[in-house]
């Protein structure tokens, strides 16, 4: 049962009413309403031009976070048996508890910073399955839930060990309900890049790390000790995350000169994502501070603003993020300049 009806745009008088509610059953809605009333984003409050933003901060008043973690018990079956629901205490099973906490951290970024109520902005419950298959060495999104393997113990350990893997998967859900970029070629690489970008932002937000403090790595800790590599991907330095005798080296390019044309991996979706990933990193580096506040906000605005089509390529995505920066922060803003320079540096724009 969900006592809070979904409403993404709430009239101020209702917000004021909700904010004043002192009933613990409505605590989430009340908190969200208070946030909406004070225009939580301090950056926007400080800057007159940002108030004219055509994509206003949304108010995530509505159905609260609801997580459902299931256990496949080593079989390749979905969803498996429900093992931890929202509000249930820790189970002691590492994968279950990591998935539960990781979904919470991901929801916190989207809900508290960007005002989005779950991945669909309508409070969809977040579902995950752990212990999928035998020595299964992958994590994936199946269109409805995240699925995590325990790893083969040789190359990969448990996939839930890295928060960025969980947030990456959940962002595939966000993308499905926003741009729905097709999973092939450049649109597919953008789909992957959005998952990496919000994946690392979730971790940075959770740890309260600035641009300089963050690792900018995806999947740190997922490799076993036998692999020479610190993570699966690096937004700061694509192509440097691992270099192993058996696995080879990280194939990601950082610029269009090194764009990889391939039929495998759905046309290199996990490879060429290095280019938009690096553009995001350069934008965040230019702006400094907390990456989710300005660079992340621009990317979020672009993803929900309607300018990205399912078959959009890098060039259009670059234009839409620049437009989003201009719309929110102004033509003469350092934010717009940061985005413009970043896309030029990775050679997507001239």
């Amino acid at each position: 049962m969900h006592p809070h009806p979904h409403c993404s745009i709430v009239p101020p008088h209702l917000l004021a009413h909700l904010a004043a509610v002192d009933d613990p059953r409505h605590a989430v809605a009340a908190r969200a309403a208070r946030r909406a009333l004070v225009q939580l984003d301090p950056l926007l409050a400080d800057r007159a031009e940002a108030f004219a933003a055509p994509v206003p901060p949304r108010t995530a008043v509505g159905r609260p976070l609801e997580r459902r973690i299931s256990d496949a018990g080593g079989q390749e079956i979905l969803p498996g048996t429900l093992i931890r629901g929202e509000g249930d205490g820790a189970t002691g099973d590492e994968a279950t508890d990591e998935a539960y906490d990781g979904l919470g951290a991901t929801d916190a970024l989207f809900r508290e910073v960007y005002g989005r109520a779950s991945i669909d902005d309508a409070g969809l419950p977040l579902a995950a399955t752990v212990h999928y298959g035998q020595q299964y060495d992958n994590a994936f999104w199946d269109g409805e839930r995240m699925v995590f393997g325990d790893g083969d113990g040789d190359v990969f350990g448990r996939f839930t060990r890295s928060l960025t893997v969980i947030s990456h998967e959940l962002t595939h859900g966000f993308t499905q309900y926003s741009t729905n970029l097709v999973y092939e070629g450049q649109p597919g690489a953008l789909n992957e890049s959005l998952s990496d970008v919000f994946g690392v932002l979730v971790e940075q937000h959770h740890l309260r790390q600035t641009v300089d403090q963050a690792s900018w790595l995806v999947g740190e800790g997922v490799f076993t000790d036998q692999v020479q590599g610190q993570a699966l991907r690096s937004l700061a330095a694509p192509g440097t995350a691992y270099d192993d005798d058996v696995l080879g080296r990280d194939p990601q390019p950082a610029t269009m000169s090194d764009f990889v044309i391939t039929a495998s991996d759905n046309g290199g979706v996990h490879i060429n994502s290095g280019i938009p990933n690096h553009a995001f990193y350069l934008t965040a580096l230019h702006l400094g501070g907390y990456a989710w506040e300005r660079a992340g906000r621009i990317w979020f605005d672009a993803a929900v603003g309607g300018g990205i089509q399912a078959n959009s390529g890098f060039r259009l995505f670059a234009d839409v993020t620049q437009e989003a920066a201009r719309a929110r922060f102004g033509q003469d803003s350092e934010e717009y300049e940061a985005v413009r320079q970043a896309w030029a540096k990775v050679e997507v724009t001239g």
Binding site: D142, F156, F159, G219, L232, D265
Partner: protein, 92 residues
């Protein structure tokens, strides 16, 4: 007859290759007919489910002159057995 299997994609986006040797009779009886059938794309509900999958592996299997590309969600038991055999026998 040599069978080459390459697995790309997955969360890691890492391509791995394994191979194994089977008798011509086994290839004719088991794997070539399976590869012929696998070349047909799924329709309806199955196609929809496949379309929304993210970070799953893609398998490219070469059996003699026949090749087939299969998303992980379409791998049923015989293919899994073949891949398992190749993985056990390969060092790479």
């Amino acid at each position: 007859m040599r069978i080459e299997i390459s697995r790309s994609g997955g969360f890691a986006g890492m391509t791995r290759t394994w191979s194994l040797e089977v008798s011509p009779a086994e290839a004719e009886e088991r794997w070539l007919p399976l590869a012929d059938r696998a070349a047909e794309a799924p329709r309806g509900e199955e196609a929809r489910l496949e379309r929304d999958q993210r970070d799953r592996y893609v398998y490219h299997i070469v059996i003699g002159y026949q090749e087939v590309t299969l998303p992980e969600s379409r791998l049923d038991e015989p293919w899994k057995e073949l891949i398992e055999r190749a993985r056990r026998g390969s060092t790479g």
